[in-house]
């Protein structure tokens, strides 16, 4: 008799749940050694609702079709010199940040999900995490391919992976992910699966992809669209994880709440760079960071937390501070990069008068009062032939590793600084949020690899900053860094466009 063709549901059951087995002569705790140390209690893994319902064969089939289309478009982009269609060479610097700061996180996400995809004893969660790990691996590949075209025509793309591991500002995204990956599997899922993928990812992807579309970057738009259906699945997984943990045992609630508090704070600190990109680096603006925050966090996130209230979950700690900071952080971050433009792997610039007016309009309560004067000063210095590059190296936050650039929300002229002593050594923080995270697990954060301190310990070559940039970071000094004005990027662009 011919074998009956299985329907999708049966196939899924046979290829996932049915492949699992019970441990009869081995101790399951030894098979899944990471499952209990965080204190999370799982009473019944069968209550897990698989969010993807994908089998491996359907996954391959579907993704292969998608990627065939993606690569056809990327080929066409390349053959038609698609880079000439971006609105302005300034835009490409946002893509440089994406490749050096975000794409390597996709690789870290692949590693993280592959790890937890082995460590859960529930087969449904294992399969879902394995699928997501494959997605992440595909994303890093498609992003590298999409952006490789820009590498042929613009500076600053050539050493993205090496830079991610070493450059001072890239330690921010890198350490964010290594923090999550070195946590237990449930914390990783709350950190990346829920906080980042479910709540914050829209603030990363939507602005970048809309920004790309508004600024003529079809390569980035294409991989963004290709990743979108995967992102939708990741969001479903993030939501399933949190509901599952909260429904399994009431003892899980305070643990999950603590992780939500921690990872929302860490996530919003990380997104400072996206805020800066939206407000300052896109020649054609999409929306302001403040508007994006209101739509994607305050409205969407607010509704979500209302929904989670029935489990006893409350809004993340310091959400009130974040609400005020949305008026400030993009300006503070771009000023930091502008003044450290000699040490950045991309170009910086003073916003045009038109852009300054746009910022005044979008930030009526803060821009003219606190931030426009900085650009007036920068213009004055530049006119004198003294384009301002700050001397020395900044103090960094022990937790988020961002220079201590944030200010007090009750006095935005004053930098916000916190410290605590642990085991006889003083540690410094940009905020109460970052200080709390350290105090909760100081044994972990004392091992932060702070780029400024590493330079002073002699671990990054030097001693001159120029040598560190060229030898340790592998930046092409005088080419990748400095102001966009008179940069090789700008000179080539003008030649292509026939501008004198």
């Amino acid at each position: 008799m011919a074998a009956k063709k299985l329907n999708i549901k049966d196939k899924y059951r046979l290829l996932t749940r049915d492949l699992d087995w019970d441990f009869s002569y081995e101790d399951p705790k030894k098979a899944f050694p990471y499952e209990e140390f965080e204190g999370i209690k799982i009473t019944d893994w069968n209550k897990w609702e698989d969010p993807f319902r994908l089998t491996m064969d359907s996954y391959w089939k579907y993704q292969a079709e998608k990627e065939k289309k993606l690569y056809a478009i990327l080929d066409a982009f390349s053959q038609n010199n698609g880079h000439l269609n971006v609105v302005d060479p300034r835009y490409v610097n946002a893509v440089k940040i994406f490749l050096t700061g975000v794409s390597p996180l996709e690789y870290q996400a692949y590693q993280g999900f592959a790890h937890v995809g082995r460590q859960f004893s529930g087969v449904g969660a294992r399969v879902a995490c394995q699928m997501q790990s494959l997605d992440e691996l595909r994303h890093v590949q498609t992003q590298i391919h999409a952006m490789s075209h820009y590498n042929k025509f613009f500076d600053g793309f050539q050493e993205f992976s090496h830079m991610h591991d070493r450059v001072w500002y890239l330690s921010v995204p890198r350490s964010f992910f290594t923090d999550a990956r070195s946590a237990g599997p449930f914390e990783f899922m709350i950190a990346i699966g829920f906080s980042f993928e479910y709540v914050l990812t829209n603030l990363l992807f939507v602005p970048f992809m809309s920004g790309a579309a508004h600024n003529g970057d079809m390569a980035t738009v294409t991989f963004g669209f290709s990743a979108q259906s995967d992102e939708a699945r990741h969001m479903t997984l993030g939501l399933e994880v949190i509901k599952f943990l909260l429904e399994q045992h009431e003892d899980n609630v305070p643990i999950v709440q603590k992780w939500i508090d921690k990872w929302f704070w860490r996530g919003t600190r990380l997104l400072t760079i996206v805020a800066m990109m939206m407000d300052y680096m896109l020649p054609n603006k999409v929306m302001s960071w403040k508007e994006a925050w209101e739509v994607y966090f305050e409205e969407a996130g607010g509704a979500l937390f209302k929904d989670l209230a029935r489990y006893g979950i409350t809004m993340p700690k310091y959400a009130d501070v974040i609400e005020k900071e949305k008026e400030h952080i993009s300006h503070q971050a771009w000023w930091t990069f502008y003044t450290h433009g000699h040490a950045a792997g991309f170009h910086t610039w003073i916003p045009s008068d038109q852009e300054l007016d746009w910022l005044s309009e979008k930030y009526p309560d803060t821009f003219d009062k606190y931030y426009r004067p900085m650009w007036e000063l920068a213009k004055e210095q530049e006119a004198k032939g003294e384009r301002f590059y700050t001397s020395g190296l900044p103090q960094l936050c022990q937790t988020c590793q961002i220079p201590m650039l944030f200010t007090e929300m009750d006095n935005p002229n004053q930098n916000s600084m916190r410290d605590t002593v642990f085991d006889g050594e003083r540690y410094h923080f940009c905020s109460d949020g970052c200080c709390d995270i350290f105090k909760d697990e100081p044994e972990k954060y004392v091992q932060a690899w702070l780029p400024v301190h590493q330079i002073f310990q002699g671990n990054c070559g030097g001693p001159d900053v120029g040598d560190i940039l060229s030898d340790y970071y592998r930046m092409n000094v005088g080419v990748d860094n400095m102001d966009i004005k008179d940069s090789p990027d700008e000179q080539r662009w003008n030649k292509w466009k026939g501008v004198a």
């Binding site: 050694p33 990471y34 140390f37 965080e38 204190g39 946590a183 237990g184 914390e187 503070q332 000023w335 930091t336 003044t339 450290h340 009062k369 606190y370 004067p373 900085m374 007036e376 000063l377 301002f388 700050t390 001397s391 020395g392 190296l393 900044p394 103090q395 960094l396 220079p403 201590m404 650039l405 200010t407 935005p412 002229n413 004053q414 930098n415 600084m417 410290d419 085991d423 050594e425 003083r426 540690y427 410094h428 909760d440 697990e441 100081p442 044994e443 972990k444 954060y445 004392v446 091992q447 932060a448 690899w449 702070l450 400024v452 301190h453 590493q454 002073f456 310990q457 002699g458």
Partner: protein, 120 residues
């Protein structure tokens, strides 16, 4: 709360212990309400360095780019060391006046409120 760890007694390696800095210690300097400098600045300094050398070498290196720097009246400057009021003694070493590893020294300049009086 102790760290969540697989085994009891977990302790990560302290990366920034003073012994790792080749005889120096880290000192941070910040000029309050002068946002031209995005953050306080870090310097590796010998603990035996007298404060006079800090005033001659480090402070101008850190903050001399500010248009108000030359107008500072150092006699009226208010200093803080690790959140406590501080009176630097010029001929005394950092170590002997309580400036230890990863100390933060902040100063306020009464009357100088930043570029155009706007905290920049």
């Amino acid at each position: 709360m102790p760290v969540f760890a697989l085994k009891p007694g977990y302790q990560g390696e302290r990366m920034d212990r003073v012994e790792n800095f080749g005889g120096n210690q880290i000192v941070y300097f910040g000029w309050d309400e002068h946002r031209m400098f995005c953050a306080a600045k870090a310097f590796p300094l010998p603990p035996s360095m007298p404060f006079s050398a800090v005033m001659e070498q480090i402070i101008p290196e850190a903050f001399g780019q500010h248009p108000e720097f030359s107008q500072i009246n150092w006699d009226s400057v208010e200093w803080m060391l690790n959140n406590e009021p501080f009176k630097p003694q010029l001929d005394v070493s950092l170590e002997a006046q309580g400036v230890d590893h990863k100390s933060l020294i902040r100063f306020k300049t009464p009357g100088l409120t930043g570029y155009n009086g706007l905290g920049v």
